[in-house]
Subunit: 339 residues, 2 copies
């Protein structure tokens, strides 16, 4: 398997990217094509020993920053490390693309350069998060801010296939993020989506209120990208505020410092447990190729994990399974709705 | 000032409600009309001493539960403690209404029984939450799941008036909850709302991502009720999960138990700080009368705090100020938009 890696994406590029790639080819037996300024990438690679045939470099002279308008950046920076990596998948020279750079540009590229699976209305961002008891998936987590019910039904189907095959949970439960547990609660989108999910053959368990999502009792949570991103960022903000305040309070007296020392293992476990970057990258589901977004602040280990995720997605044939399952779904409910 | 209190609302009714009312009349010098089964309420009242002219009882035989469909419940249960309390405000016999019962029914009653201030499109739920550095308001937090930009502009105006006069923050900052900080980010609703807020004379500081809301740096956060409720419930869920896991971990060994003991004061402070029920009730802004929702699990102290909040809202003439400010707002932007 060959993975195209955007060598210039993320806060720690290219060092952490290159190091993660070197570890991955040695441990996972994949081949990698790194995109970026050839001289810089090769110089960084020269610090490591690895089978030379396992990593190739494709030169690129531009970099897309996370602040650029995604579609414009893709069009104007044809020689960027991201566009070059996306094109490797488009042209069949690589089986997956991975970047820790601009989420928006990667998402736009998944649709505009790689393209959607036939019948899929929208590509969705689908991170896996660490729940209190089990990990859970939120999809869409920010790719599509204005959604129609049919999109959410497709997110549920794609999430199910991914969760079942990558996280090995048979017939995972599907929940609809909603502000009330009763069927008639919510806005126009959730009310219509509820009907679609209920009449599908998915393992739909009904509306799930956001307060019950972090428990991890439901496997796949569907919502529009605005709500999913709000959930994600609130999760991050609340956990971050709690941990930073806790730290300040613990450092405030000798007694509390001692208490903090005794609980160090607890806090360390905890920070890891509530750090949603732990599960490596987020998949973009619905693209014709494998597209993985690594967190912007990824270190080499996180990169290696994201590469492992791309490998699993490839070996489990997620794209092929989505294509097949889509055909099996009631054709009427998918195709009678305009785009 | 006279406050109508739904004697049967909330998990701890009528005991905690009655006790909170007794404390309030003694400490705050307000008068209270309690609604509920006369015999039961009077029997509960008989446990306390208080100036007998300060609490009256209005008999009612029905109770609306939080699971009932709000509008239907209001129509069918005319003799419920909630409808009777709402009618006291409608008929000018009380200056404010307070309930810890069904949020939906109270909200529906605020619009259908008490009515909206002239020009106000929608009544909004506006809880105050404890931030890392300062308290903040989220509005709408769940009353209106499908919104138009003009509603959000009005929520901002009402939130500003409340925050300025009750929390004593001059010209409070207004933020728009959005999934990106840049002006062009978001869905159709937030993009249009951004323009309206920017051209208003409010102290608008732009889009605020949900992860930055818990810091409390921005005073009033506006959003549609679906997003606001998602924020609120995610906040609650994440904080709850963290505290419950922390408790389990601390109890797991002698060493960590000792650490927990040394940090007891820290955790106690913390639970209080992240418990959003601490700020008493949530105001429904935009109704022609004062409508306060106390948390369902309110104890007597929380009830007393909510009564204090109703008193402050009355003394600061929030309803009158909203009415006046609405007239000052650019008439075109308010009235040219259909309901």
């Amino acid at each position: 398997m060959i993975i195209a890696v955007d060598g210039m994406g993320g806060d720690n590029a290219p060092e952490a990217v290159v190091e993660g790639c070197v570890e991955a080819v040695k441990e996972l037996g994949v081949k990698i094509i790194l995109t970026g300024p050839e001289e810089l990438i090769k110089k960084t690679l020269s610090k490591y020993t690895f089978p030379s045939e396992s990593i190739a470099v494709v030169n690129s002279t531009e970099v897309i920053s996370p602040n650029e308008e995604p579609v414009k950046a893709l069009k104007q920076k044809k020689d960027s490390s991201l566009v070059k990596a996306l094109n490797l998948v488009k042209n069949g020279e690589a089986d997956a693309v991975l970047s820790a750079g601009s989420t928006g540009a990667l998402m736009a590229g998944a649709t505009l350069i790689i393209g959607r699976i036939k019948g899929i209305k929208r590509v969705a961002l689908a991170p896996i998060m660490p729940g209190k008891t089990n990990p859970f998936m939120v999809t869409d987590a920010g790719a599509n801010v204005d959604c129609k019910p049919i999109y959410l039904l497709q997110f549920a189907l794609m999430g199910k296939i991914y969760f079942e095959n990558i996280l090995k949970v048979k017939n995972p439960t599907i929940g609809l993020i909603n502000i009330g547990s009763e069927e008639e609660k919510g806005n126009e989108l959730t009310k219509e989506t509820h009907k679609l999910l209920k009449s599908s053959n998915l393992n739909f368990v009904g509306n799930i209120e956001p307060r019950d999502v972090p428990s991890g009792e439901t496997n796949v949570l569907v919502c529009d990208g605005f709500v999913g991103n709000t959930f994600l960022k609130t999760y991050e903000g609340v956990a971050g505020s709690i941990f930073s305040l806790l730290k300040t309070e613990i450092m405030s007296s000798l007694k509390t410092k001692l208490g903090g020392l005794l609980l160090k293992s607890v806090f360390d476990n905890f920070k890891r447990k509530f750090d949603y970057t732990e599960y490596g990258g987020s998949a973009f589901l619905g693209a014709k190729g494998i597209v993985i977004k690594a967190h912007g602040s990824s270190n080499s280990k996180a990169f290696k994990n994201a590469i492992k995720q791309a490998k699993d997605t490839y070996e489990q044939n997620i794209v092929g399974r989505i294509t097949e399952e889509l055909e099996k779904l009631d054709a009427g409910s998918i195709n009678d709705t305009e785009d």
